[in-house]
Symmetry: C2
Subunit: 201 residues, 2 copies
DNA sequence: AAATGACGTTAGTGTCCATTAACTGAATTG
DNA sequence: CAATTCAGTTAATGGACACTAACGTCATTT
């Protein structure tokens, strides 16, 4: 009598083990930092022990790489989908804010890991993540160029990064007795839109 | 013939060595992360080697503690001074934004360390830093309660933290060929004020 | 049903690194 | 000027930990 997870064969069991490892890694890295988590901890969280992790990832840095390349890809893909739906720069930016806020609020762990443990990545993964992040910023910057015709590309990118800082601040917030998540989200979105629309002077 | 630094006696030499260690630690921790810097690196950056650091600090964590308690104290002190000057909530908040933007732009290293290596602090230092940070947030929240009478204290704190995320985003920005720092600062301040003032809807 | 190979196990192994030990030489002090 | 303090040195020491080796076991394959 095999368990329900293994009922579908070895390759499926492996896939589920791998995603369990990634999910636990996200939780542990967010809580203790990449350097505060050992390979042993990582395996134990998924019910296997230490070296077995190497059957799924080439090393500890590869686990971090899979997480961060994944989140960067998801953000870029989602952002491009939003932009592809068209509309005025103002409405596209509003939808980008909605998308990003949803993402940050539903995946606070990876957000935290991304702006904390970026440079524990292997050189190759780091380059890939930077490339994806630049492309995502440019999705925003393209719309911002339309909203603020007087500002150059560097200014638009700067604005986008500042708003990411605002939207990504929630993982750092204390969350004690998280009173009203919907109101929190609404407030965050309003502030982001206001910052994006603020005239330069 | 003693060098100019040591001409004034041993205790002054010690004080200058200590501040050199702190300055180099800020630079190194910001660049490589707390765990990416060894005690040996730390000493070498100030011209002494490894274990000599223990003549100035109880341990590696104590160096980080001195840095982060220092920055938290400076922020709280500066924020309180701004608030003590009085004015309407709107004008006080504008001055708080100016103050914080200046701080973040002139000390990007410690800002980066603060929201990255917080939990490598000793328990005691961590508690102290959290206490100072809460007090600083409350300086902002007090003014925000005046600006948005309809929002409760938690909402005001949340707003403050989101704006810190925005203002503290500059250390993460790429800074390549830093075109116009003054314009950058101005844009940051405008966005922060807009986010602080945004009506909740 | 044998052969294969993937996934897991427990023991190393080597390295890095924070901290301590033992000692030295100069500045301070009485 | 002798005694002491103190910032510095180099040489252990001890632990954490990423990764490798050697081996077992069971599902898949032929």
């Amino acid at each position: 009598m095999t368990g329900p997870d293994t009922a579908t064969g070895r390759s499926l069991a492996k896939a589920s083990r791998r995603s369990s490892l990634l999910a636990e890694a996200a939780r542990l890295f967010a809580q203790h930092g990449y350097n505060g988590v050992s390979i042993e901890d990582l395996g134990a969280a998924s019910g296997i022990s230490g070296p077995a992790v190497y059957r799924h990832f080439a090393g500890k840095a590869a686990v971090l790489g899979a997480l961060l390349v994944g989140v960067s890809r998801d953000l870029l893909e989602g952002g491009r989908a939003v932009a592809a739906d068209g509309g005025t720069p103002g409405t596209v930016l509003a939808r980008l804010v909605d998308f990003h806020a949803d993402f940050a609020l539903s995946h606070p762990d990876v957000i935290r890991i991304q702006d904390r443990d970026m440079d524990s990545l292997s050189p190759g993964d780091a380059a890939e993540v930077r490339r994806l992040q630049r492309a995502y910023i440019d999705v925003w910057a393209d719309q911002l160029r339309g909203l603020h015709p007087g500002e150059d590309r560097a200014a638009a990118r700067f604005r986008a990064q500042a708003v990411f800082g605002l939207l990504n601040s929630t993982p750092h917030s204390t969350h004690r007795a998280d009173a009203d998540p919907a109101a929190r989200r609404e407030r965050l979105v309003r502030m982001a839109v206001a910052a994006l629309s603020a005239p330069v002077g």
